[in-house]
Every structure is written in structure tokens, then in C-alpha cells.
């Protein structure tokens, strides 16, 4: 197969990959940022814990959004 004629398969696959890649990139970034950023030593422990839980929950929600949407369209669509 000639390389220059395979652009259609690669292009369509790139566009379709974005449906998962975009939410995954945002979700993983949010989780990594909230879980691994160095926190200030004087910040209250309960507040740090709350921010961590909120960030991880939000990140997981964003990561799972395309999967949930696919299942929903499969069931209701």
C-alpha cells in the first residue's frame, strides 16, 4: 500500500480517536494535577483532602464520559 494513499484511513482514525483521547487527556490531567501537586504546608488537612477527592472524582467522570455516552446511545438511541 502506498503511504500517500493511506491518508483516508489514518485521517478518519485520528478523528475517531479524538472522541476518547480528548476526555482521557483532560481527565488524567485533572487527576494528576490534584493528586500530585505539592500542597502548601499551612493548608488545613481536611481542605486538602476535599480538593483531592473533588479532583479525582471530576477526572474520573470526564474519563468515563465517552464510555457512558456510548452506552446511553446504545440503550436509548
Amino acid at each position: 500500500m502506498n503511504l500517500f494513499t493511506s491518508w483516508d484511513v489514518l485521517g478518519i482514525s485520528l478523528v475517531l480517536s479524538l472522541r476518547f483521547l480528548g476526555p482521557f487527556a483532560l481527565g488524567v490531567s485533572v487527576i494528576a494535577w490534584t493528586a500530585l501537586r505539592p500542597s502548601r504546608a499551612d493548608a488545613p488537612r481536611s481542605r486538602r483532602r476535599g480538593a483531592l477527592l473533588l479532583g479525582v472524582a471530576l477526572g474520573l467522570l470526564v474519563c468515563l464520559a465517552p464510555v457512558v455516552l456510548f452506552l446511553a446511545t446504545d440503550v436509548f438511541g
Binding site: 491518508w7 476518547f20 494528576a32 474519563c63
Partner: protein, 152 residues
């Protein structure tokens, strides 16, 4: 010199990740199981992007002296690494645009033929650049915190 090497590594990383994403997407065409593997592979790619962004920042910041210039350079390490990944993905998008352009007869070339490749490159640059920025900035911040902590 180290800064230039890290930039080249980031560009190569961004370009390679775009093509890996393309082939992961092709895997999704095969079957339902293939689509599941493809989605999992894309998740692994994003995780690897965060880790490699942090790794590049670590290379950039390793052996940094306490001079004012190196401290100023170290402050922008996250954006520098993310920017180099962005440039790599855009370069791959331009190559894809060339593939599309050379395979389309001159009479059928329209705006979409010219814009598809660079447009995909820009979008992938943003999507792949963001996790790399996060990974590199985390390393940058942690090193800054450690250095401040050791100074006390």
C-alpha cells in the same frame, strides 16, 4: 545545549504519539474487542504522555545551577516541554496534510483538502500537549518545593 536536546525529544515525542494514536484508532475499526483495546491504548498513551512530559522536565532541570539565568529557565520548563510536544504534533499534521494534498487531483483540491491535515495537527497538539504540560509542571513545582525546603 540541553534545552535544545529536550526540545528535539519533545518534538519527536509529539510526532510519534500522533501516529501511535492513528494506529490505535485503526485497531478500533476491526471489532468490538478491537474498539475496547483501542480505547484502553489511548488511555495508556495519555498516561505515558504525562510521565514522559515529567521525564523531559526532569532532564531539563537536572544539574541546574543556582544562577539567576538557570532559575529563570527552570520556571518555564512545563510550558517549554508542552510546547515542544505541540510543535511535534503540528509537524505530523502538516505531513498528513501533504499526504492528502499529493493524493488529491489538482481539480478537486478545495479548502477542506488544505485545512484537514494542519487542523488535525493543531487539535492533536493541544490534546497531547496538555498532559505533557501537566506532567512537566508537576516535576517543576516539586523540584522548586524541594529546593525551597532544603534552603530552610
Amino acid at each position: 545545549m540541553r534545552r535544545f536536546n529536550v526540545f528535539i525529544l519533545g518534538v519527536v515525542l509529539g510526532a510519534a504519539l500522533l501516529w501511535v494514536c492513528a494506529f490505535a484508532g485503526v485497531l478500533g475499526f476491526t471489532s468490538v474487542e478491537g474498539a475496547t483495546y483501542s480505547a484502553l491504548l489511548l488511555l495508556v498513551i495519555v498516561l505515558a504522555d504525562v510521565v514522559l512530559g515529567g521525564f523531559l522536565a526532569r532532564i531539563l532541570l537536572s544539574g541546574n545551577s543556582a544562577s539567576r539565568r538557570s532559575r529563570r529557565e527552570a520556571r518555564g520548563a512545563g510550558l517549554f516541554v508542552g510546547g515542544s510536544v505541540f510543535v511535534g504534533a503540528v509537524a505530523s499534521g502538516l505531513f498528513l496534510g501533504a499526504m492528502i494534498l499529493f493524493d488529491t487531483p489538482a481539480s478537486q483540491r478545495n479548502l477542506f483538502v488544505f485545512a484537514a491535515g494542519p487542523g488535525l495537527g493543531l487539535v492533536y497538539g493541544m490534546v497531547l500537549g496538555m498532559p505533557a504540560v501537566v506532567g512537566a509542571t508537576l516535576v517543576e513545582m516539586r523540584r522548586g518545593t524541594r529546593r525551597r525546603g532544603s534552603r530552610r
